[in-house]
Structures are given as C-alpha cells and as structure tokens.
Assembly symmetry: C2
Homo-oligomer: 206 residues x 2
C-alpha cells in the first residue's frame, strides 16, 4: 500500500449524483498528493442531509438550478472535461455508494478507481447508475470482481448498514453538502474551496 | 469621475446583512481595478430571493449554520479583518440599502464609501443597522449629507421603489444569492468565486 505512512487524511465526502463532486473528483487526488495526504473517498446519501438541513437538489431549485446548469457546462469547459447532465438527473446513487464501500473493504485502490469510473459513467457517458447492474458493470471494469458479485454486493444488508452509518457519521460531523472536504479536522464545503484548502494546508492554517 | 471610460462593469450584488458579502467587499474593489472594470455596488433584498428559491438564511439552517459560523470566523482570520456576528443577526438591511441608492443618485463615489462603512459598522462594530437612524449616522460619516436628510431618504417612496426594482432586476437576471457577481454578462455566485472571476477575466473566458 503506497499510501501507508502518509501524515494525514484528506477526506472527500460526496454524493455520486452531485455534479460539483464530479468536478472536484477531477483534481482531488492531485491535491491530496501535493500535500502528502491520504485521499479517502466518502460517498454518502446527500438526500438524507438535505432532509436534515431543509435543502433540496440544486436541479430542483428555481433560479439556482438555472445558474447551476450554466455553471456546470462552464466548469467542464474550464477543466476541459466532457460533461453531460443525464436526462434522469438527479438519480439515487445508492447502488454505486454501496458497491464503493464493499470494494473498499477488499481493495481500497480499486474502490478509488471505481469512484472515478462511476462519476465518468454517469456524467460523461450517461450510464444509468440508479440500477445495481449498471453500477456493478462499471465496478467490474476496474476491479477483480464479477458483475454478479458486485450487483449482489449492492443489496448486502451489512453494506446497506455501512452506507447508513457513513451518512449518519457525516451528519454527526456537520457534513451537509457535496462535495465536502475534511483535512486535519478542518471542514470545507464546496468544489470552489479546493484552492483555499491548499492555501490552508500550505500555510499551516489560519 | 475617475471611473469614466473603463471598458466594462463589475457588478457586485449583495445584501448588507450577508457575512459572505462582507468578506467579498474587502477585496472586490481591488479585483475590479486589476481588470480595469468599473465596480457597481448592487444591494438587493436577499429575503425576497430566498422566497423565490425556497432558501433561507444560513444562520437559520441546521448544520449549515454551524459550518457557516465557523467559516466566517476562519475567513476573518485569513483576511486579517475584524469580524463579530451581531447578536441580532440577520437584520433586515432595508435602511442601508435604500440610503445606498439615494446616495448613488447624488454621488456614486460616496455611495461606494458608504457600502464599505455599512458593512464595517454591522460586522465589525456591531452597530444596529436595522434602524434608519443607525444606517443614516454611518452614511453621514462618509458623505456630505446630514443624518436627518439620510434618515428621511430611507423612507422616500421613490427610493423604496428603486430598491424593489433592483431586487426584481436581480431575480429577473437569475441573481439569487449574496454575494453574486456579474462580469461581462457572466454570472458568478459566492465569495469563493472571486479567484475564478479573475481567472475568467484574465483568460478571456472559457
């Protein structure tokens, strides 16, 4: 494990159906590496957090939704990545989130590869990630497990509980949005904050 | 007027009771100057926008409010500015917003000075800016007008209508948050976006 011995963790909390998390996912690994931190992917159920804070999906919010759709296309041009909001957006990202944690228990590196793959499948290729089979097929591409094993993983009671526990952990720790970063105990909300996270790390904090 | 002849406008939309607008106000003038843009201060009634989008004040939002309070103190340390959330936060910023537009019709430079003064009075000195007399006293410090004139301005029907019209303009143009920047027709929401606004201006846009 090349990550062993690094001095701290870079926690990246997100929902697989969050466009801003997709954009953060493009650079978060480089950010962690630049500061010698171990990147920890932490999918959680954003909808549960929305209920706790009284928020709702950006896409479903008047005026803000229009801005967000304009902004996502613009950010894709800025990062020179492909991006296409799926017609069924936002989906429930349960299968991908559960498969992620199942993989993480077996092979953390493969789980990280799957996280990137799941984002690309949904936001670049338009794959239906709401279906366990769709998410499992993507996971099979980047891990040593079969589609059947991975699809079954998405309905394992222990894994369902794990995702619930991670979501509760998020709420208990004040993590309410996607993406959300925690670095050395310090919380930062929003993809726009990545440069500030780096400034904070480089300066030793304010 | 030293601003005449500049090539474009940097519109800064905000609510006087918005902490993130306070932080943006610290640097927005320098940003505009660096890109040879004319800074236009545009207070509006954020509460009206909240009704349109189904949002509410950050301070009143569970979990997000706790994050925001932590974040504001941290941002103040980062910018090395004083900041103290008033005990009656958030206030209704009608008097300051109306006095701003009254001043702007007479002396745009004084209006800009008042905007900075109003933010400092509320977020640094704890002045009660919900009272017309409180806002007028601050305006008198940075303009050639008397407290009595300025307090009366805050209840002039034409000025009340002007603030309503600016707020409607904001909603019609998709401006729903504070701070919100519009540069050459391009909208950017949030204090965190200022570096990206500069990148956008420097690169000619993406």
């Amino acid at each position: 494990m090349g990550e062993t011995g690094r001095k701290g963790q870079f926690e990246f909390w997100f929902d697989f159906s969050s466009p801003y998390a997709f954009f953060a996912a493009q650079t978060v690994k480089d950010v962690a590496r630049r500061h010698d931190l171990h990147l920890v992917w932490r999918p959680f159920m954003l909808g549960v957090a929305f209920k706790a804070t009284g928020m709702q999906s950006l896409s479903n919010t008047p005026i803000r939704g229009d801005y967000a759709r304009h902004d996502w296309v613009r950010l894709a041009r800025r990062l020179q990545v492909s991006f296409k909001l799926p017609s069924n957006h936002p989906i429930v990202a349960l299968p991908a989130s559960r498969i992620f944690y199942w993989l993480e228990e077996r092979d953390e590196v493969a789980a990280g590869r799957f996280a990137r793959r799941a984002f690309d499948a949904y936001f670049v290729e338009g794959t239906d990630m709401a279906r366990p089979e769709g998410a499992a097929a993507e996971a099979a591409k980047v891990s040593p497990f079969s589609v059947a094993e991975l699809a079954a993983a998405a309905s394992e009671p222990a894994i369902k509980d794990k995702l619930k526990a991670r979501t509760q952990e998020a709420l208990d720790r004040g993590i309410f949005g996607s993406p959300f970063f925690v670095v050395a105990g310090e919380p930062f909300w929003g993809a726009d904050r990545l440069p500030m996270v780096e400034e904070w790390l480089a300066s030793g904090g304010w």
